[in-house]
């Protein structure tokens, strides 16, 4: 693709001034804050942190490229319950499916919670008791992830989430755990909070799909012990004009491997933050996304904000973000690699690329490296480009129709991100789905 320099970043055109007084109270008033249970202390702490810090306004530095107001508004705009037609992803895969309706676990619709090698409870269930293994983690990784940049919506989540999964992985379960979201009401403001602890040498694949709330706020706190593996693949319902926010807080121990991949196809305002702390030697963390945004489906704005901290020896991190944008869609990438003093032999890689299918779309990227160790290998790159006309002509000259040729080139652009899905069955399924989405669309 033709490359241009990283786009000059400007303050986005957001009207309005600082945070409106009482916005937090109005926001909280709409939420049914849980009381008591093992998480009570963490929730109370989160609430007081949140009251002290407040919600971000359009002027906040960390919200320069994404208007936070869809997330601070007292309630979301209603959306149809079905989220649009589409067969569910991951259908081909044998899996343990756990259904969440508007962020609340639906036991009747879910598979039995038993799976060898994994202990699963729900947050609501566990909160009926005063103690639980997750007490050490609930809100703790979120809290750790508040420095050096605060993430108030995650704090809000810790305070307000009424349900989620508490997953302790002790072995290598034969199949993935699949969180299937459903929208139960049009104005659903879904908040959920999962805590995952992968014990030493254990492995889990976590899949997420389905229709989330008209507005959603999901947090995953993942703690990977030595040699643990967590593969996380999320693909919410395509073409659903939802507003959504999600955070992944991960602590990666020695020789542990975290791989997180997101597939996003249209929507309204979305932001995903991945905050990864590589605390053990030889840890591996890959975070990737393939994003398709068509401004005609909804005012598409998708923000990936990533913060990876290397705090130990020989860590390997990879960030691979690819966004295909058209009809005025906006893509944002804020990605940082922080290498702490002493984190020698760190291998950090970051690439963020946008393929703009027209001139109305834009990509705003802010790649950052901050390095305090002297023996490291870190690289980052960001490009914005259009369809490669030479490649397009080459394909067409062989008889490949224009639309099909564009699909080829878009898939080709996304290929590096898809590579981050290790499971070949899932990768092929995602590829086929992408192909189908792209093919159904009118010519760009």
């Amino acid at each position: 693709m033709s490359e241009s320099a990283v786009q000059e970043l400007q303050t986005p055109q957001v009207s309005g001034t600082a945070r409106p007084a009482g916005a937090l109270d109005a926001r909280l008033a709409q939420l049914d804050l849980p009381q008591g249970g093992f998480s009570a202390r963490a929730r109370a702490d989160a609430l007081s942190r949140l009251r002290a810090a407040g919600l971000p306004g359009p002027r906040d530095e960390y919200w320069r490229y994404t208007d936070p107001r869809p997330f601070t508004a007292a309630s979301p705009q209603a959306l149809p319950v079905d989220g649009g037609p589409e067969s569910p992803l991951f259908a081909a895969r044998d899996k343990l499916t756990l259904v969440f309706v508007d962020g609340l676990f639906d036991a009747a619709a879910s598979d039995d919670l038993s799976l060898e090698g994994v202990e699963i409870t729900t947050l609501a269930q566990a909160d009926q008791a005063g103690s639980h293994w997750a007490a050490d983690l609930y809100g703790a990784l979120e809290l750790a992830g508040q420095s050096p940049v605060s993430r108030p919506f995650a704090t809000l989540n810790t305070a307000a989430a009424r349900d989620g999964l508490l997953i302790r992985v002790t072995g290598k379960p034969a199949k993935p755990v699949h969180v299937l979201h459903r929208r139960g009401s049009e104005g659903a403001d879904a908040v959920w909070h999962h805590v995952i602890r992968v014990e030493s040498g254990a492995e889990l694949t976590l899949l997420e799909s389905g229709v989330v709330g008209a507005r959603s706020n999901g947090v995953i706190e993942a703690d990977l012990a030595q040699g643990a593996k967590l593969h996380h693949i999320t693909a919410k319902r395509a073409n659903d004009p939802k507003v959504g926010l999600s955070h992944l807080f991960a602590r990666v121990g020695a020789e542990a491997v975290l791989k997180s991949f997101a597939l996003v196809v249209n929507g309204t305002t979305m932001r995903h933050e991945a905050i990864v702390d590589m605390v053990g030697d030889d840890a591996v963390a890959h975070v990737a996304a393939a994003v398709l945004g068509d401004g005609n489906v909804g005012p598409f704005h998708h923000d990936d904000t990533v913060f990876i901290t290397h705090g130990a020896l020989r860590g390997e991190s990879r960030q691979v973000f690819k966004k295909v944008l058209k009809n005025g869609a906006v893509g944002v990438f804020q990605g940082k690699i922080l290498v702490k003093n002493g984190a020698q032999k760190t291998d950090g890689y970051q690439i963020s690329q946008a393929l703009l299918l027209d001139e109305a779309s834009q990509f705003l990227a802010k790649p950052e490296l901050e390095i305090y160790a002297d023996d490291v290998k870190c690289s980052h790159g960001s490009t914005t480009g259009a369809i490669d006309e030479d490649a397009l002509f080459y394909l067409r000259s062989r008889g490949v129709p224009h639309e099909r040729a564009i699909v080829f080139l878009v898939l080709s652009f996304l290929a590096d991100a898809l590579e981050e899905v290790e499971d070949e069955t899932l990768r092929d399924e995602i590829n086929e789905r992408l192909d189908a989405w792209l093919t159904d669309r009118p010519r760009g």
Binding site: F393, G399, A405, F408, L409, S412
Partner: protein
């Protein structure tokens, strides 16, 4: 087969005339060669015929078996039987050579109302043709032209040509970058495709290719026009004496 009449072409973006009244006819079953100095417009001719953007035809016509090429989309020209082996084949990361080739073959078959090849049928044919050109199964699996050597890219062009079975094959400097053995492979491939209802237009700078692929006619192109046409001996004459005399003769 291919009839080009008084073709005038300028660049779309700037006021630069490249083809200045080019006339050429390649009858069915014949092989014609075009030779000419660098910059005379040979690649431009091949691009204009196959429908690349960026050129404006200001005068003249080009037809393939009577159908006007210039009004067609590139993929329609391909379906009509035109093929261009590129001077510089394009690398397309992330698209597998096989997937690409099967899509192209089937798109053309579909456009012509023929049944599409199944994966199995396609595989059988492509393996055999690739083996003839000494293209390894590994190269077939790799992304289109990515990491191919110059000569491998050219052989891959001929593989595509063999798979697509076009009526009119244009080859733009397919011989440049080929070693002696590869030149023979490629020539054998081309010769195997020669038939009474298929024609070739071979653009080259060197006589060597033409000793393998015997042309019926050799055209000399200069400054956007054909300035002389003749038999195979014309290529030998160029090889010996260069273009000086021919250019002088043409004024």
């Amino acid at each position: 087969m291919l009839k080009i009449n008084n073709l005038h072409v300028k660049l779309e973006e700037e006021d630069k005339q490249i083809l200045k009244g080019l006339t050429l006819e390649v009858p069915a079953g014949e092989v014609h060669a075009i030779m000419g100095p660098n910059g005379s417009g040979k690649s431009t001719l091949s691009y204009v015929l196959s429908g690349r953007d960026g050129y404006e035809v200001t005068e003249g016509s080009a037809t393939l078996e009577g159908a006007s090429l210039l009004d067609m989309e590139p993929e329609e020209r391909a379906a009509a039987g035109l093929f261009l082996a590129f001077q510089y084949p394009v690398e397309i990361p992330g698209v597998g050579n096989m997937t690409f080739l099967r899509t192209a073959v089937n798109a053309q078959r579909k456009a012509r109302g023929e049944a599409e090849l199944t994966a199995g049928e396609f595989l059988k044919v492509v393996r055999a043709k690739a083996a003839d050109l000494q293209i390894s199964p590994d190269m077939l699996k790799r992304p289109v032209n990515v990491g191919f050597s110059g000569g491998e890219k050219k052989r891959n062009e001929i593989l595509q040509m063999a798979m697509l079975e076009p009526r009119m094959c244009i080859m733009d400097e397919t011989d440049s970058g080929l070693d002696v053995d590869a030149m023979r492979l490629v020539s054998d491939g081309v010769n195997a495709l020669r038939s009474p209802d298929r024609s070739f237009l071979v653009i080259t700078h060197y006589q060597r290719l033409l000793s393998h692929i015997q042309p019926d006619v050799v055209h000399i192109m200069a400054n956007g026009r054909i300035i002389k046409s003749g038999g195979p001996d014309l290529a030998l004459e160029v090889e010996e004496n260069g273009y000086g005399d021919l250019l002088a003769e043409a004024g």
